[in-house]
């Protein structure tokens, strides 16, 4: 899949009538009920909503991990929903960075090597050292996950996600397993990446306080976007009320 720079006139993501249904008959669950969405490039978007509101399903579909039951998703000008598994893998490989709630680092690789795992297969990666520098872990590069704190592990995960210079960064509850001080350090790393690399960033969280650092906040409930708020003056993570 050829790399294509998304211009400001094209949305980073555009979703049309996304529906996701799990199960059949009595057990049918509507995870998404006709979601329409546009995310401009370079924006920081926060998805808020209770459990089961469809946040993760939406993120998974945008990230190429899952496919909708109906509706279409465009990444730039290309239709993701038309991709087969191989192309979705390539899409994730080249354009998407993921940060998980539980870090999901490879325990047998050091911080530097965990990042290297991704940069080795990316097209235009930054050196792993630079990515780790961005998240403030210059001094801990040769440590194994077992030797790092939770916050440090999550920052390695962020470095790993952004080292390939992705177009978008998806973070699913990035601070869910962390205390507030550590959480803020992690959010600072995410904000810095968004600012300095202009990476479109989408964060799922339960924590409404985090919304203040976003350009755009999506409130989800019952598989639908209830409300979109635009925030012309996002605040810095250390200003957040946790």
């Amino acid at each position: 899949m050829e790399s294509e720079v998304t211009t400001s006139t094209t949305a980073a993501f555009r979703a049309e009538g996304l529906t996701k249904v799990y199960g059949t008959g009595e057990a049918t669950v509507y995870a998404l009920r006709g979601v329409d969405l546009e995310v401009p490039p370079g924006e920081m978007v926060v998805l808020l909503g209770p459990s089961g509101s469809g946040k993760s399903t939406l993120l998974n579909i945008l990230g190429g991990l899952d496919s909708p039951t109906s509706g279409r998703v465009f990444f730039g000008t290309r239709e993701l929903t038309a991709f087969d598994d191989r192309h979705l893998t390539l899409f994730r490989r080249e354009h998407v960075g993921f940060v998980f709630q539980f870090y999901n680092l490879i325990p047998s690789l050091t911080a530097r090597e965990n990042v290297g795992l991704v940069t080795e297969i990316a097209r235009q990666p930054m050196p792993p050292e630079e990515a780790l520098g961005l998240v403030g872990l210059e001094q801990r590069m040769d440590h194994f996950p077992a030797q790092l704190s939770g916050g440090e592990q999550q920052r390695v995960a962020i470095a790993r996600a952004i080292a390939k210079q992705p177009n978008v960064l998806f973070c699913d509850e990035p601070t869910g397993a962390l205390d507030s001080t550590t959480g803020i350090v992690v959010l600072e790393a995410i904000a810095r990446v968004n600012r300095e690399l202009n990476t479109t960033t989408m964060i799922i969280t339960h924590n409404a306080g985090i919304a203040a650092m976003a350009n755009r906040v999506l409130y989800m409930a019952d598989g639908q976007i209830q409300k979109i708020e635009r925030n012309p003056t996002p605040c810095a993570p250390d200003q957040l009320s946790w």
Binding site: S56, F100, Q101, L117, A146
Partner: protein, 791 residues
């Protein structure tokens, strides 16, 4: 039904269902061990019991005393010897048989039947037909195996050359005999039903034919249990000396019994060596699978304990799981063992001629098999279950910290510039869990070793036959004469059609003594420049016979504990019966029998006889064999003919039938072990690392790339296991060779490169198959779940 079960038992069933492939793999390996044990041990006991019952019921002689000719009146004296329960006399002689449709002469034996219809000692089992009518001299009984091979039945005719006279005989009945369970012609290595026949004829008629009216040439005896057989043999020998006794011998020296004993010994070896290997592998597998399963269920264990289940209740839960696997394994083993045992019994029934042979493993054999399996289960899972008991609920419910790889090997760090991250993961993983890797390695290596151990015997046998028939005994035909003849007899034979070369030999019965060690053997005298039947040194190079002294086969030298240069007492049991001290002038390699050789001229000189020979070795023109055979059948002085090619073919056939089946099953079992080990390892790795691998998929690694991380480890271990497996195979083969070393034959430790290659191929295929199975599961990894679940 599920509803009736308590929740914990329901969990047990579902857990077992989830690991059904692995559980079955372990059960099958246990089953192979149990089955192999039941089969070999049960068959061994069935065979030994059948033999004992057969011998008992048909009163197989304890001691056999052949003579040249002794008066019937001597029977009284023999019966009066201390230790004799009962004695009988008989006539037994070699014959050449001629059956329509077989151009080659057939070697056989003919025995006398007493006037009262059945012999008391060495009784026979009448299968079909009737005993010969005393009024009809030409009626005979014939051995079942032989008549079956030639499709002969009561009423059919057969020609025999009795003491130089060709006679037309009528078969009146078909019999089995405890003396010919293993119906083999003397000097051969495998029975050839077609080429060895035995007949029973009325005593008077046979005595007429062999000029033995009122005389006998063999006494058969039953001994009383308490007496010494050796002492009796000494007494018999001195009593019968005057009558040309070649030396009485016990039942254990009787050829059929010797081969049968050899077979039982082999079964014993198989039963002793192979099942433990399977069970050891099963122990490994249980250890690995259960240990790792418990690691992945850590949280559940903590949860159960937190709910108030006792340590014992939780441990019992896992013990039940192990129990189910072991019980299934035992069931598979019992079914397999019984099935294989019955098959083997049929094979034996066909091969050895028993009037009855049932495969019946006694209860204690089953109990031992079950007991051993339970031991295997305990040994394999003890540490894991203890870990379950000791786990504190609070600790168990906190996810374990990521495993610490910081103390990984320096050398991996030095490779930094050379290897990519996935390879680094593979290496660190191996280094971090060395015991696990070692177990997998050993398991795979053992399966390969087993394959080599099972299939090398083919190589060794082929090699043995090749050396025996193409290096040592290169003659096409061996002709035995009735009595020693002047060496001019050879010229008569040379003139027979198709004979290219003839070389004389003389075989004399002797007793060899070195101190207390004694052997009854034949010394074969060969002409000095013999080109056909030769002796070879331990490097298998043909060596000339030294003009003086006696040359022993390595096995005989070992049995007599005598070496070159030492003197050996030789008591000749023919002619003037001299007793001589002869130096051992060499030790030669033989794979079959326990031969002793001398220079023919030197032998005759020592016997102070003119050059006399017992027979000749012939090299013949293959185009003219029919004419030659016709001539030999009609030559009165010929007592027996053995054909090298036929012997070789019979050997290969037997090899294919018996050993081929054995090798096939072992290959199957070893393949199962290989799959069991490799598949289990791959499968467990997948379940342990599924989350890690799915995360990598999310990060954009392709299926191929993550398959590499999982399967490269397996491939690495498999490749590393190949040389180790080759070594284990060599060791196993060496052990088997040692335990198959008998007086009858020795198997050389020869493993052909193709056997190593074949074993490696089976292991590789098993590994590739397992890899593909696991690879299919990689394709269905749930990527979405990874984002949410923690370890």
């Amino acid at each position: 039904m599920i509803k009736l079960l308590r929740p914990l038992n329901r969990k047990l069933l579902r857990d077992l269902w989830a690991i059904k492939g692995q559980a079955l793999a372990i059960a099958v390996v246990i089953g192979c061990g149990v089955g192999m044990y039941l089969m070999s041990r049960g068959m061994l006991l069935s065979l030994a019991e059948t033999r004992a019952a057969y011998y008992e019921r048909y009163r197989f002689a304890d001691v056999i005393a052949p003579v040249k000719r002794a008066p019937e009146a001597l029977l009284e004296e023999i019966s009066a010897l201390p230790g004799v329960r009962r004695a009988e006399t008989r006539i037994r002689a070699g014959v050449i048989l001629d059956v329509e449709g077989s151009s080659a002469p057939i070697t056989g034996e003919i025995q006398s039947l007493p006037v009262i219809p059945t012999p008391h000692i060495n009784d026979i089992v009448l299968r079909r037909g009737r005993y010969p009518d005393p009024q009809h001299e030409e009626e005979v009984l014939a051995l079942d195996a032989f008549t079956e091979a030639h499709e002969l039945g009561p009423g059919d005719h057969i020609y025999a050359i009795l003491n130089g006279t060709r006679k037309r005989l009528t078969i009146s009945g078909i019999v089995l005999s405890p003396e010919y369970i293993y119906a083999i012609s003397p000097g051969e290595i495998v029975p050839d039903k077609k080429r060895f026949g035995v007949l029973w004829m009325n005593r008077d008629a046979l005595a007429n034919a062999f000029d033995l009216d009122g005389a006998f040439n063999e006494a058969v005896l039953l001994t009383s249990a308490s007496s010494s057989e050796d002492a009796l043999i000494e007494r018999l020998d001195s009593l019968l000396k005057r009558y040309g006794a070649t030396g009485a011998y016990g039942r254990d020296q009787q050829i059929s019994d010797q081969f049968l004993t050899n077979e039982i010994k082999q079964l014993e070896t198989i039963g002793r060596i192979l099942p433990p290997i399977f069970l050891l592998v099963a122990t490994f597998l249980l250890n690995v699978v259960v240990g790792r399963l418990i690691d992945t269920e850590r949280e559940q264990i903590g949860l159960l304990k937190a709910f108030g289940y006792t340590d014992r209740a939780v441990a019992t839960h896992y013990l039940k799981m192990i129990g189910v696997i072991v019980v299934v394994g035992i069931l598979i083993g019992v079914a397999l063992g019984t099935w294989l045992g019955r098959g083997l019994a049929n094979m034996y029934q066909d091969f050895f001629k028993f009037p009855f042979l049932l495969f019946r493993a006694p209860l204690q054999v089953y109990l031992v098999a079950i007991g051993i399996s339970l031991l295997v289960a305990v040994a394999g899972t003890f540490s894991s279950v203890r870990r379950v008991m000791r786990l504190h609920p609070a600790v168990a419910m906190i996810p374990p910290p990521p495993p610490d790889y910081s103390r990984s090997a320096r050398w991996i760090e030095h490779l930094s510039g050379w290897i990519d991250q996935p390879t680094r993961m593979v290496l660190r993983h191996l280094y971090r869990w060395p015991r696990r890797a070692a177990m997998a390695l050993l398991g795979i290596a053992m399966s390969m070793g087993l394959l080599i151990g099972a299939s090398f015997s083919m190589d060794a046998m082929m090699y043995m036959v090749d050396i025996s028939f193409n290096v040592i005994d290169r003659q096409d035909v061996t002709v035995n004469f009735f009595d020693p003849r002047n060496d001019r007899a050879i010229y008569d034979v040379l003139h027979a059609p198709g004979v290219i070369t003839a070389e004389p030999f003389r075989a004399i019965p002797v007793v060899l003594r070195n101190g207390p060690r004694m052997r009854r053997e034949s010394i074969v005298g060969l002409s000095p420049g013999a080109e056909l039947s030769r002796v070879v040194n331990t490097n298998l190079q043909p060596v000339p016979l030294p003009p003086q002294g006696i040359v022993l086969s390595d096995k005989l030298a070992q049995l007599l504990q005598v070496g070159p240069g030492e003197l050996l007492r030789v008591e000749v049991r023919t002619g003037r019966r001299p007793e001589l001290d002869i130096p051992v002038s060499g030790v030669v390699k033989t794979y079959m029998g326990t031969a002793a050789y001398m220079d023919l001229d030197h032998l005759n000189e020592l016997l102070r006889e003119d050059t006399a020979i017992n027979g000749t070795y012939l090299l013949v023109d293959p185009q003219k064999t029919d004419a030659l055979y016709r001539e030999l059948k009609n030559t009165p002085l010929v007592a027996g003919v053995s054909l090298q090619e036929e012997a070789q073919n019979a050997f290969y056939e037997t090899l294919q039938d018996s050993l081929g089946t054995f090798v096939f099953f072992n290959t199957l079992f070893a393949g199962l072990i290989a799959v069991g080990v490799v598949y289990n390892n791959a499968r467990i790795s997948l379940s342990e690392r599924g989350r890690e691998l799915a995360s990598l998929r999310v990060l954009g690694l392709t299926r191929g790339e993550i398959s590499y991380i999982l399967l490269a480890e397996l491939a690495f271990l498999t490749l590393l296991a190949l040389p180790l497996g080759a070594m284990l195979g060599y060791l196993l083969a060496a052990t088997l060779v040692k335990s198959f070393d008998t007086e009858l034959f020795r198997i050389p430790l020869v493993i052909s490169p193709s056997t190593y290659g074949y074993a490696a191929l089976v292991v590789l295929l098993a590994a590739i198959g397992s890899g593909l199975l696991v690879r299919r599961r990689i394709d269905t990894l749930d990527l979405v779940a990874v984002l949410k679940t923690r370890e």
